[in-house]
Amino acid sequence: MTGLRGKTAIVGTAESDLGLVSPDMTIADLMGQATHRALEDCGLKLFDIDGVFVAASQSRMVGLMLCEYLGLRPRYLDSTQVGGSSFMAHVRHAQAAIESGMCEVALIAYGSTQRSVSRAVASSREPLPYEDPYRPMMPPSAYAMAASRHMYQYGTTREQLAEIAVAARKWALLNPKAWEKEPLSIEDVINARMVSYPFTVRDCCLVTDGGGAVIMTTAERAKDLKHKPAFILGAGETTTHQSISNMPDFTVSGAVESGRQAYTAAGLGATDVDVAVLYDAFTICTLMFLEDLGFCKKGEGGSFVENGGIAPGGRLPVNTNGGGLSYCHPGMYGLLVLIEAARQIHGVCGKRQIENANVTLAHGNGGVFSSQCTVLLGSENTL
């Protein structure tokens, strides 16, 4: 799929209100709010949008909901729902739709009020009759079991996992929109309330409201808009299982494959990446994705993150927005991952902006390590 390299770009991004939104706000309100902000961000108008890509957990026909709310009748509508990685999948699908002429300006949107309405209401569980009798707390217990296996096979420690939460918090303190406002230490993480061993509540993502919108269009049209375009250099997606019991190897995710597809399409490797934004639903996610996407060898994620390795000033800037662990996690966090990766190219990240960010990687995770989707973005220098 190298033929799609640099043909499309993310030109506008916006978050909806985040954290805890006003009472009775709906997911359509948040998606609509974010859409108008994203249009303002790039300088396009509502009726430029002719392709809509949307996923949410609180609506069965969210595509219809959003189009009605905005008053859009798009030529192309895609509500692929693969959990938190849906929006990276949408980027890949939008590339194809734009390249084949089925649409020209794509909106990718998401909204959630899970903190306001409670997680149980916001995302109903899939029935899994072979797992349900054991009362796992999902998703934390699935990721906790993966962490247990990683610790067993590679000697990864709870302190190393805690480093990931601490690094995320340090980045979050540079992001005015982040939910968490207090410093965090390794001891704080390890001594916090135990949820599903080895995870304390600080190894687990936040539970917030939130949403966002991304506007994507052709490279040609992107040239005349407000920001330096964040060109789509490559994208990849794969699925390996649905329920954690069927994950082939608990220490290796499908990110190996989605990353391979994205790197191949981009003609780049991990060493070319200036900023990595990795879906961190739990501390183990960041660690596994660093390994699976080639930033370090399998089993060496623990030492890679030690001593502030992914914190501000470390060897690789990871989750510069503060991540799902400290910035925002509305349930399907992937769109916010994508937004941060695009903004680092746009150069609008303020105190957390990485100088000369030319290549950024946005990695999405859906289900319980189930769906993996990777997008590589680049500045004009990479074309």
Partner: protein
């Protein structure tokens, strides 16, 4: 009332085995691959030639976690790798949940069914 049609569901057959104290799984007779959870066709090949077998019930803990609910006692959830070559989620009981370790040998035991929850397998530590 119309009669239900088609084969007995794999989940129903699995549960019937559980009622008899048996942990059942399937083997694809085309290529000998082990299939769990039970299905109508084998994953990957779509072969309908799936034979039911009963596990000896001995396995090894592959992954583990201890849950700490706010208002109840901690309990184990583990992934057990059965000697016949399939993984399943279960609980290791009879010991402190924090003492369940990866690599530990375990043996199946059936929890009797109730009106709300059909019989299902859990595991206890096994000798050797």
């Amino acid at each position: 009332m119309a009669e239900a049609t088609g084969p007995i569901s794999p989940l129903a057959i699995y549960r019937q085995h559980c009622e008899r104290g048996e942990l059942a799984y399937q083997v694809c007779t085309d290529d000998g691959s082990v299939v769990f959870y039970p299905r109508l066709t084998a994953p990957g090949t779509a072969s309908p030639n799936l034979e039911w077998r009963v596990s000896k019930g001995l396995g090894t803990v592959y992954a583990t976690t201890t849950l700490f609910p706010r208002d109840k006692d901690p309990y184990d959830v583990s992934m057990v790798e059965l000697d016949e070559g399939f993984k399943m989620m279960s609980r290791v009981e009879s010991i402190d949940p924090m003492d369940v370790k990866i690599g530990m040998r375990v043996k199946v035991r059936m929890i009797p069914g109730t009106d709300k929850q059909p019989s299902y397998p859990v595991f206890d530590p096994a000798e050797g």
